[in-house]
Structure formats: structure tokens, C-alpha cells
């Protein structure tokens, strides 16, 4: 038991799904297990609001199951920005700064989300530079990709 760290860790189905997300793909299995220990699990019903536009963002969400709709605009004139599938994530800007959410996230069908709380992420960056660097790089690539997408004329905002 004590020398458990010498053998390669086996991942649970949930941890394998986490490992397959864009954000954690570059992490080693041991690192995925460590990050999984920091994450929370939430379930949402179809049409339930995950967060509102303008709300203070405290966490990043990873879609483990189901689909999520991202909307913008006033309540009577909402327009769809994007639909997210399992494996994708949203709310990433909240992880980087304290800015309000730039869109509303709503469950399109019953879904299961993994939640990465901002202060856990910041503490991880401080205490584990390697995991922090890998996640930050994945985040930067994702944001860069989104920017390129917008510059190409696709006015879609994938994440808040």
C-alpha cells in the first residue's frame, strides 16, 4: 500500500473520461487522479440553468455527459452561441480572472458536469507547477483556437 506510487495508477471510468477532455489530455494518469480529487460532480436537468450571463464566475465546467447550450442576450431575445458535447468545457475565463460570465449556460438535456473551482485551480498552479503548466497551456491553446475562429469570421463565442 505504502509503495503504491511505484506502480502505474489505474483510472476509474470517470477519470478516463476526464483524461479524454481537451483540458486534461496532456496530463499523466497520476496527475489526472490528483486533479480529479479536486473536482466536484454536478447533475442538471434538461433546461436547468448552470450559470447566468453577468454572474460572478467561480468555476470551470467540463461536460461529462449530456449537452449544454450557451446563450447570450436579453431574456426575451436570447440567441444561441454554441452547443457543447461531452468532452468539451466552458466557463474557462472565470478561471483566469474575476470577470462576470459573458453568456448563460443551460442544460440542453440531462447532463453530468465536473466542476473545477477557481481557487482550487489557483492553489494547484502555486503548489504544482507541472500540472498547472499543462492545464494552462491547454487553456491558452483553446482560447487561441477560439480567437482564430472568430478572426476567420465565425462570430461564435464558445466559452465564457
Amino acid at each position: 500500500m505504502i509503495f503504491g506510487f511505484l506502480k502505474s495508477p489505474s483510472l476509474s471510468p470517470r477519470q478516463r473520461r476526464l483524461h479524454n477532455t481537451v483540458l486534461f489530455r496532456t496530463l499523466k494518469p497520476l496527475e489526472v487522479k490528483f486533479v480529479d480529487g479536486l473536482m466536484h460532480e454536478r447533475r442538471y436537468l434538461p433546461d436547468e440553468i448552470i450559470f447566468d450571463e453577468g454572474e460572478e464566475g467561480q468555476a470551470l465546467y467540463l461536460v461529462m455527459n449530456g449537452r449544454v447550450r450557451i446563450n447570450r442576450g436579453a431574456p426575451d431575445s436570447l440567441h444561441l452561441v454554441n452547443e457543447l458535447e461531452p468532452g468539451s468545457f466552458f466557463g474557462d475565463l472565470a478561471l483566469l480572472d474575476n470577470s462576470p460570465r459573458s453568456a448563460q449556460a443551460r442544460a440542453l438535456e440531462g447532463c453530468e458536469l465536473a466542476v473545477f473551482f477557481r481557487d482550487d485551480f489557483l492553489a494547484l498552479m502555486e503548489t504544482d507547477a507541472v500540472i498547472g503548466y499543462k492545464i494552462s497551456l491547454a487553456l491558452a491553446r483553446h482560447i487561441g483556437q477560439r480567437l482564430r475562429f472568430q478572426l476567420d469570421g465565425h462570430a461564435q463565442l464558445e466559452a465564457m
Binding site: 500500500m1 503504491g4 495508477p9 490528483f34 454536478r42 436547468e48 450559470f51 447566468d52 453577468g54 481557487d119
Partner: protein, 381 residues
């Protein structure tokens, strides 16, 4: 923009109603905790130890150890080292009359303290004839005689037995620290699971704030204790008092109790100094000077650098609450009022904002209606 005004709650501050609630709950908890002293002290020691060991435990977790093994390893290593240090300090101690029993040692220190006060009174009378005319020494002697005649026989045994009775409860501290280390994350997730989705993010933030407040306070307390111990031990060592490190450490621990702790610590150091060198009262006077210098350093340099930054409570509220704590629950109240107020303040302010946010309440009602609808979808009559 959906619910923009209602959803942004960061900039709002708690009002007078919430603050009245915060102060009321803090006072109520102080009264309750006074009756649970057997749990309060181990809880404080356990929490301080938990925050000390959290860092090393996280290192082990990153090496791939499980949470259980990491908590067990750091606890075993820490408490073994503590036991060894305690044994070393006790064996290093060169108190007068080594080998005597507690009864005799207590009596000797008491006599040493009384002799010091009498000598000081004699010196004062010789210097100031006015005091001699007032028969100050005789007055003080009579008071002391009334208090100390057979003090060792009457009270010391009771004090030692009471202290021994506390030991089992203090042994709870290592257990509490171990279980805090092992299960704190599980407990946090357990609490978060019970929270409705609408309030989830804010509740995570609340739990984090409570943890940060407690951590800042106890880490500040720990740093303050170490600095106090070093300064006092160095000063006492310079003037030649026996067991300077042990005395410095006990005084620093006693200083956890505002006002009362410092006075008790000073009396203890002076009594030991007076007993060590009965023929040379300058050592005891030197101990008083060292203690006052250490307190000044503590109050004006160390405290603002450590505890002062930790709680972010208005100084006037801090001072008033210390007095309220002392009036409600005595020494326990003095010791606990600040950390308790810090934690209740964070919880109260956040709950106040959550409960009064109309958008979050509407979202919660909507989610409940969705759940109700889903649960009864195939139950239409």
C-alpha cells in the same frame, strides 16, 4: 443580459441586520463553547496541526500516495518528532531541585515568588519612606500569609490533578488533526453535494473563504508563537534564567489568550527567575524587562505582521468583541472570540447575500419545479 443586476453579488456588502446576526451568533456560540472546553482546546491544537501538516501531505499526494496513507505518514512523523522534542526539552531542563516531585517543585516556586515580592517591597520601603510609614511590607505579608499558608497542601494537588484530568482530552488533538487531514476534502465535497445547483458556485466560494480565514488565523497564530518563543528564549537565556526555551514556549502558548495569557506568562517567568537566583533579584527584574520588551515587539511588530493581516475585521469591532468574549465566557471567550467572529462573519455575509439574491432564488425554484415535473411525468391521473 439575464439577471445581470441580480446575479452580480460580489460588490455588495452586508447590512446592519446581517451584522447583528453575525455578532449574535458569535456570542451564542461563545456561550455554548464555554461548556465544551474539553473539546475546544483539542480542536484548536488539532486545527493548528492540520494546517501545519497540509503542505507536506499534499507533497505525498503528488507522489502518488493515497489520501489515507499520506495522512497517516505525516501524522506519525510529526507526532514522533514532537514527542522526541518534548522529551529533549524536558531532559535539557535544569530546574532547581531536579528529581523532586511536582508537589515540592510547585511549593518551591511559590515560595520563590513570594520571597521575591517581599524583597521587592523591602527595597521599595527603603527607597521611599512614605511606603515604610504605610507599613506596606507588613500589609503585603499579611495578605500573602492569608493566601499562601499551606497553599501547596490545599490547592497545588487540586491544580495538578485537574491538569492531569485534562490530558486525555488533549490527546484528542492528534486524532482530530489526523482525521482533518484524511477527510477534510471528503467533508467539503459532502457539504457541497447537499447544496442546490443554483447556490453551488457561491457555496464553494463560501467554503473556500471559511477555510482561508481559519487557515490565515491559525497560521498567523503559529508564526506568532514561534517568533515569541525565539525572542523570549533568547532574552531569558541572556539574563541566565533556567530552561529558557521551555519557558519561552509556554509563555508564547499562554499568549494565545489575549491579556490574561500574557500576565500569567509574565508571572510564571518572574517566579522561575526569582527561584533560580533568590539572592539576586536583578535576574527577576531582568525577566520582567525581557517580557515587556517581548510583548512590545509582539504587539507592534509581530502581531500586525501575522494575526493582524489574517482576519480583516475593523479594529474597533475586534477590541469590543474581545471584551464581549471575556464577559460572556471568560478565558475561553477571550481565546476564541476572534477566530469565531472571523468564520461567522464570512458565513453570515455570504449567506446574507445568497438568501437575498432574487435571481438565485428564482433559479432554485425553477430547478425544483423541473425536478417535480420530471418525477411526476408518468403519474398523471
Amino acid at each position: 443580459m439575464i439577471g445581470h443586476d441580480a446575479a452580480v453579488i460580489r460588490a455588495e456588502r452586508a447590512g446592519p441586520v446581517v451584522w447583528s446576526g453575525i455578532i449574535g451568533v458569535t456570542c451564542l456560540m461563545l456561550v455554548l463553547l464555554e461548556h465544551m472546553l474539553w473539546l475546544v482546546l483539542p480542536f484548536i491544537f488539532g486545527t493548528v496541526t492540520y494546517y501545519m501538516l497540509l503542505g507536506p501531505m499534499r507533497e505525498l499526494l503528488r507522489f502518488g500516495f493515497t489520501r489515507n496513507v499520506s495522512a497517516t505518514l505525516v501524522s506519525i512523523v510529526f507526532f514522533s518528532v514532537m514527542a522526541l522534542v518534548l522529551m529533549a526539552v524536558l531532559s535539557w531542563s535544569t530546574a532547581p531541585g531536579d528529581g523532586g516531585n511536582w508537589h515540592e517543585i510547585g511549593g518551591r516556586y511559590l515560595d520563590g515568588g513570594v520571597a521575591f515580592v517581599r524583597n521587592t517591597m523591602g527595597l521599595l520601603e527603603a527607597k521611599f519612606p512614605l511606603l515604610a510609614e504605610m507599613h506596606l511590607t507588613r500589609l503585603v505579608n499579611r495578605r500573602f500569609a492569608a493566601f499562601t499558608d499551606n497553599f501547596a497542601q490545599r490547592h497545588l494537588t487540586t491544580i495538578v490533578v485537574t491538569a492531569a484530568g485534562w490530558l486525555p482530552s488533549l490527546l484528542l488533538a492528534p486524532f482530530l488533526a489526523y482525521f482533518f487531514l484524511r477527510d477534510s476534502l471528503r467533508f467539503k465535497k459532502f457539504l457541497a453535494r447537499a447544496v442546490p445547483n443554483a447556490y453551488f458556485e457561491r457555496t464553494l466560494y463560501l467554503l473556500h473563504q471559511v477555510d482561508q480565514t481559519a487557515r490565515r488565523y491559525f497560521e498567523g497564530l503559529l508564526k506568532l508563537t514561534i517568533l515569541d518563543t525565539i525572542v523570549l528564549a533568547f532574552g531569558l537565556w541572556v539574563i541566565g534564567v533556567s530552561s529558557p526555551l521551555l519557558l519561552g514556549f509556554i509563555s508564547a502558548l499562554l499568549a494565545w489568550v489575549p491579556f490574561v495569557g500574557s500576565v500569567v506568562g509574565c508571572v510564571m517567568v518572574v517566579v522561575v527567575a526569582a527561584t533560580d537566583a533568590p539572592a539576586n533579584p536583578l535576574v527577576a527584574y531582568g525577566a520582567i524587562v525581557v517580557f515587556i520588551l517581548a510583548r512590545l515587539l509582539d504587539d507592534f511588530v509581530f502581531m500586525p505582521l501575522t494575526l493582524g493581516r489574517s482576519l480583516q475585521i475593523h479594529p474597533l469591532v475586534t477590541v469590543l468583541m474581545i471584551f464581549v468574549g471575556g464577559a460572556l465566557s471568560g478565558v475561553v471567550g477571550l481565546m476564541l472570540v476572534l477566530p469565531l467572529l472571523g468564520v461567522v462573519m464570512v458565513i453570515g455575509e455570504t449567506l446574507g447575500l445568497l438568501m437575498t439574491n432574487p435571481r438565485l432564488r428564482a433559479r432554485h425554484r425553477y430547478a425544483k419545479a423541473l425536478r417535480e415535473k420530471q418525477a411526476s411525468a408518468d403519474l398523471k391521473v
